[in-house]
């Protein structure tokens, strides 16, 4: 019953000075618009940069590393068990980089419900032969379909069709930089030399552009069978198993688990790219800081306007109190004035923010290092809109709270006597 009256009084007070109200609301709208746009834009860019690494990096990589033996013969001799031993004679075993039992490891991984998918891989060191010059290079043997499903292989194949790599025998997708040096067009045959000295001819079916030119100069892709042939190994030969998880945050724990279970090296994405994570979180922090600053500035604007309004309405407040409105009622009136400015300005701000983001999303953004990006990236994360909405209400409430508390404490006698 009282609520309706208070809403009515606040509405009349708001509309009586609608220009002032509009200025206050525009302050909030501007703050929220900028918050949404800025955050959407910055985290869009952030995601894009993250994607450069994260999309192509397995969450866990299983591989073998050539290491020195952990125990030397003297360690095993009981008489010297408690001594400091420094005689080291056993060199690293001529163990292949091959993952033993790769078939059964893959089967076990496929049964793990936490795993999104697995892509086996072979890394082969080669030389690209260009006339009399040899360029060092790396050929990655991949399972084309799985690599595309998990690591978006096709988005980086800028010329040619990635699936030809699977369908054409002895084919290769060359890194753009390497292809330019070799002057190899699609359909040409190139020659490579393996680390064991064997020569091999491969047909170019596409170019690969990662956005990192150092990689493009060196790396190329072939399918698993071709690479195994290249190395003269059997069909079970695999050097890496790339695992993608449903939840990236579990990677460190699961990497440890796989290391213990399969007795091979396992590295998680967080460890492999720790510097990258730091950069990403700092960027996020900066964009939030800027956004929150905008909102607080808008909040001070509202505070000022409400404060002014209350000074102007002193007489009205006094008379409302004299005719029986209590301090709480007056407080509620000014709080609801502040909140309606907040709600109105906030909703408009969210809409304008969305509009401005959509506009930025249309601006062309072409850069050589990012072949897949055509316009500026925007992140339309609903949580930004939630934060923006809630923050607009909280700031306007706070901005309204102090002036309205003052209004509720005004003594009508002081004002009436002052006339």
């Amino acid at each position: 019953m009282n609520f309706k009256l208070i809403a009515d009084v606040s509405r009349s007070l708001l509309l009586a000075r609608w220009k002032q109200t509009l200025v206050a609301a525009i302050g909030v709208t501007f703050g929220i618009t900028m918050f949404i746009t800025l955050l959407g834009f910055m985290s869009g860019l952030n995601d894009m940069l993250d994607g450069l690494i994260l999309n192509r990096t397995p969450h866990i990589l299983l591989y073998n590393e050539i290491e020195a033996s952990e125990q030397q013969p003297i360690d095993l001799y009981p008489a010297y068990k408690n001594h400091h031993n420094f005689v080291r004679s056993i060199k690293p075993k001529d163990k292949l980089l091959q993952i033993h039992n790769s078939g059964s490891i893959i089967d076990a991984l496929k049964k793990d419900s936490r795993v999104l998918g697995i892509a086996p891989k072979i890394t082969a060191q080669v030389f690209y032969n260009i006339g009399s010059v040899d360029l060092t290079g790396v050929i990655n043997g991949i399972d084309v379909e799985e690599e595309n499903r998990l690591f978006f292989f096709s988005t980086y194949v800028t010329s040619g069709n990635y699936i030809d790599l699977k369908n054409t025998p002895n084919s290769i997708v060359l890194g753009k930089g390497a292809a330019e040096k070799m002057m190899a067009a699609i359909g040409d045959i190139i020659q490579v030399t393996t680390s064991k000295g064997e020569r091999f001819q491969l047909k170019v079916v596409g170019y690969f552009e990662s956005g990192i030119s150092e990689i493009d100069k060196v790396q190329s892709y072939a399918n698993l069978n071709t690479t195994q042939k290249l190395l003269g190994e059997s069909t079970g030969y695999i050097t890496d198993i790339q695992v993608k998880l449903n939840d990236i945050l579990q990677a460190p724990n699961m990497a440890k688990e796989y290391h213990d279970k399969f007795h091979i090296e396992a590295i998680d994405i967080q460890t492999a790219n720790s510097q990258f994570e730091t950069g990403s979180s700092v960027r996020t922090l900066i964009s939030y800081a800027v956004g929150v600053t905008l909102l607080i500035v808008a909040g001070f604007g509202i505070y000022n306007i409400l404060n002014m309004m209350i000074y102007e309405k002193m007489d009205s407040i006094a008379i409302l109190k004299a005719t029986g409105f209590s301090g709480t009622d007056v407080n509620k009136i000014f709080i609801s004035i502040a909140l309606s400015i907040g709600i109105f300005g906030g909703i408009l701000g969210l809409l304008f923010g969305f509009g401005l983001s959509a506009l930025i999303d249309q601006i062309p953004f072409n850069t050589a290092s990012l072949p897949t990006v055509k316009t500026y990236p925007i992140n339309y994360n609903p949580s930004f809109y939630m934060i923006g909405g809630v923050f607009s209400l909280v700031t306007t409430y706070m901005a309204g709270y102090f002036p309205s508390r003052k209004a509720s404490k005004i003594d009508p006698v002081v004002i009436i006597r002052g006339k």
Binding site: M1, N2, L5, D8, V9, S12, L13, L15, A16, D315, S316, A318, I319, L320, K321, A322, T323, G324, F325, S326, G327, T328, D329, D411, P412, V413, I416, R417, K419
Partner: protein, 226 residues
């Protein structure tokens, strides 16, 4: 016989700024139902101060105040607001109408706050009060479109809306010319005689006071005649 509606017992008030001055010295008096009382005295004698204490707006005093038999001391601010809303109608020297609202709405506001009647009924009652005061034609105008005398009549209508126990006036004719003063006085007179309304009017207009039933005269914080 007539009932006691307002009773003041030994009300004492000090002003502390800039010096401590005693403005009211143990004022005691009472007002009965349907009495038309005026308070006169030279300016600075404390008559307005007394009125603000009696109206519950000023709570910084010593002594006891009873309105409708209920003690007003040490009540919470919200309770006092309720008392003002329900039992006291106030008319000031300056009209204090809210320009954001129409005349009708101004009259309705205290009634809506009381919440005793539905919005429709409050509106109907407000129109009736305006009719009594002869300004029902101005109901939908804005207060700043009215003349001074009309505004004061709207203020009286607003004071009447909740059928208060007593109407208090702080120099209600102070800002008006002779003709309008007379109109306002006649309205008060009519309210007292026809509607048995109790009135307590502070004034320095001795002519005005002379026409009321009972005069309380004050000097230096004391009542010298009542």
């Amino acid at each position: 016989m007539s009932d006691l509606i307002l009773e003041a017992k030994k009300i004492t008030k000090y002003f502390h700024d800039p010096l401590t001055v005693q403005v009211l010295k143990e004022i005691s008096f009472s007002i009965n139902q349907s009495e038309f009382v005026s308070v006169i005295g030279k300016s600075g004698c404390g008559k307005s101060t007394l009125l603000y204490i009696l109206s519950t707006m000023d709570t910084d005093y010593e002594g006891e105040l009873f309105i409708d038999g209920v003690a007003m001391r040490n009540r919470k601010e919200a309770e006092l607001a309720k008392v003002r809303n329900e039992k006291i109608g106030f008319v000031f020297q300056f009209h204090y109408l809210l320009n954001e609202f129409s005349v009708l709405k101004n009259v309705m506001l205290p009634g809506l706050k009381l919440g005793k009647y539905s919005d429709k009924e409050v509106e109907h009652r407000a129109m009736e009060k305006l009719k009594i005061l002869g300004i029902d034609n101005e109901a939908l105008k804005n207060p700043n479109q009215l003349s001074g005398g009309q505004k004061q009549r709207v203020a009286i209508a607003r004071a009447l809306i909740n059928d208060p126990l007593i109407i208090m006036g702080d120099e209600p004719t102070g800002n008006l010319d002779k003709k309008n003063s007379e109109i306002v006085f006649n309205i008060f007179q009519e309210l007292a005689s026809e509607f048995n309304q109790s009135l307590l009017i502070v004034t320095h207009d001795n002519e005005f006071a002379a026409k009321t039933k009972r005069i309380i005269e004050m000097e230096d914080g004391n009542i010298i005649r009542m």
